[in-house]
């Protein structure tokens, strides 16, 4: 924040700006502290998590980590998560992007109806489909394979992606497309060369959310890929809570191990979105 007393050349600080910064910093505190709290507690024994969860672990205890690594093959789980959530994101962006392109840039009969159907599918909770989907996945021999999770999750996230991407693409000026069409682009090159680059911020946002939903989706993971060899990392969270009580230290560790890599990936992609956003802003 700029200093109020910056001497000879006073910078005018409006009270409104100060207020905005106070609110923003206040909210930021809740999110940052939560992350710190989780990581901090992952270095404590279960009893200390319960009794002194706010003390800083100056003498970190690694028991939870060794426990987690000894009992569960975390490296493998990370790889599984990355493969499955990554593939889900790619499929969703490809298929969702194509569908969004058609729905936002073409005028044809049934377009509105398709939109209505899509909005309606946002209302179908996973509970309403899980049993029949599971039957299908079993019938095709996909249980406990990566595809067994990728397919249902792709379907589950497509609707959201299509709506977000179509919403963004609809705002792109028509002239741009027409000009390229005259330049000899066909619809596919138009999509890859024009629409996709312009819509990058929307694609980036959709990618992040789809990744997160897929990565954090414990419910589907438990049902479709519940074997150690293919189990994603989020399943750690459920694995450590067994019938022998609740080990909060181990829980905090598992949460940390689940969250920290995603945060790192997010921080990495975030810069990319930032870039995409500025490019998107100077469109036209």
């Amino acid at each position: 924040m700029q200093s109020v007393q910056s001497g000879k050349k006073p910078i005018r600080i409006k009270p409104g700006t100060v207020f905005m910064y106070v609110v923003l910093c206040g909210w930021a505190l809740t999110t940052i502290y939560a992350m710190f709290w989780i990581v901090n507690n992952s270095f404590k024994l279960s009893r200390d998590v319960m009794n002194q969860s706010f003390a800083i672990a100056f003498e970190p205890v690694m028991d939870n980590y060794t426990n987690a690594f000894d009992r569960i093959n975390i490296g493998k789980s990370y790889l599984n998560s990355l493969i499955m959530s990554g593939s889900t994101v790619l499929l969703v962006l490809l298929f969702g992007g194509l569908a969004a392109y058609v729905l936002s840039r073409f005028q044809f009969r049934g377009r509105r109806a398709l939109f209505s159907i899509l909005y309606a599918s946002l209302l179908i909770p996973a509970f309403a489909t899980v049993v029949p989907v599971y039957e299908l996945v079993i019938k095709w021999g996909l249980v406990n394979t990566y595809l067994g999770l990728i397919f249902p999750q792709t379907a589950g996230n497509l609707t959201f992606a299509i709506l977000v991407l179509a919403g963004y693409m609809a705002t792109i000026p028509k002239e741009l497309e027409e000009a390229s069409f005259i330049d000899g682009c066909n619809r596919w090159t138009l999509f890859t060369k024009i629409l996709f680059p312009i819509s990058r911020p929307a694609f980036a946002s959709a990618a992040i959310f789809v990744f997160l939903w897929s990565y954090n989706d414990l419910f589907s993971a438990l049902i479709f890929v519940n074997k150690e060899a293919v189990r994603p990392i989020v399943a750690l969270l459920s694995e450590i809570s067994s019938q022998y009580g609740t080990d909060f230290g181990l829980m905090a560790t598992a949460v940390s191990l689940t969250v920290v890599p995603v945060l790192i990936i997010y921080l990495f992609i975030q810069r990319f979105i930032e870039k995409g956003l500025t490019e998107g802003a100077v469109k036209g």
Binding site: I38, V102, F106, F108, R187
Partner: protein, 286 residues
């Protein structure tokens, strides 16, 4: 319409349509079909006609779950969407630290709902939760934060907090798409500050606000982990998602569980239509 567009329409829609049909619509209709059966586990099912639907309409617990869901939805729309919009407007208006706030506000979204719920268990716990430890240190009596009067509000706090960052990013993305010449023109007219926000920014992202509210409504219908972990649906916090889960997956009554799933879908459709009607406004294209 360009030449050969029909081909591309079909071609580009096909993969998405296939996925949605196979893994979403077909299973959904299959569930609808199941709602006319009494199931015993997964093996036997007997056709019972509308028996499950009759039961549904006389199910007090379902009624209570509906009301609780509506209450939670009100909190989500007012606070989650409201705070997200406010934060987005603030961040849009400041010059220093935009990237920082964008980054940190998103943290909770990254954490899975289950993990956040576990975190709040440790906040609210009566015996050794943070809140009661603080109260005791200050010499007050312990409070049962998840009592019948407070439980739903207590659950609403993590629910709201979790996804504020998500809607915040959607709003901010929408705002970044507003061409800067709009603002420059407004500036020339002397429209700045709060006036600019209400006269320019909000109307221009109205379509995004509508999408977000629809997402918030449908999202609330899917709320599950927070209730399940924090209160187990006790003390007047049962919502449609947890009730459906209990009936279908815990009780293994798939027939009745499917009936509730259908009810949730119908309920959600009606709410979204209502929301769209209330927010009806011409979309501004630019």
């Amino acid at each position: 319409m360009m030449k050969g567009d029909r081909k591309y329409i079909v071609l580009f829609l096909l993969p998405a349509a296939a996925f949605l049909s196979i893994f979403l619509y077909y299973p959904f209709f299959k569930s609808m079909y199941l709602s006319f059966f009494r199931t015993k586990g997964f093996t036997t099912k007997t056709w019972v006609g509308f028996e499950n639907y009759v039961r549904m309409f006389s199910d007090d617990l379902l009624g209570a779950a509906t009301l609780n869901t509506l209450e939670l939805m009100a909190y989500v729309i007012i606070f989650q969407v409201g705070i997200a919009l406010m934060l987005a407007i603030f961040v849009d208006n400041i010059t220093w630290g935009k990237g920082f706030f964008r980054m940190v506000f998103f943290f909770p979204v990254v954490i899975s709902g289950t993990a956040i719920a576990l975190l709040f268990v440790l906040f609210y716990n009566f015996q050794f939760g943070l809140l009661n430890t603080l109260l005791q240190n200050m010499g007050f009596d312990k409070v049962n934060w998840l009592s019948e009067n407070m439980a739903l509000k207590a659950v609403a706090i993590p629910t709201v907090w979790h996804y504020v960052g998500f809607y915040f990013v959607l709003f901010l993305t929408a705002m970044s798409k507003i061409p800067s010449d709009f603002y420059e023109a407004a500036k020339l007219e002397g429209i700045t500050g709060i006036k600019k926000t209400f006269l320019l920014t909000i109307p221009l992202i109205m379509s995004d606000i509508k999408v977000v509210i629809t997402l918030a409504i449908t999202g609330t219908l899917k709320v599950f982990e927070f209730i399940f972990v924090l209160t187990r649906g006790q003390n007047d916090t049962e919502v449609l998602g947890t009730y459906m889960y209990k009936k279908a997956l815990v009780d293994q009554n798939f027939g009745y569980g499917s009936t509730i799933a259908i009810y949730i879908v119908v309920f959600g459709v009606l709410l979204s239509l209502l929301a769209n009607r209330l927010l009806k406004r011409d979309e501004i294209s630019y």
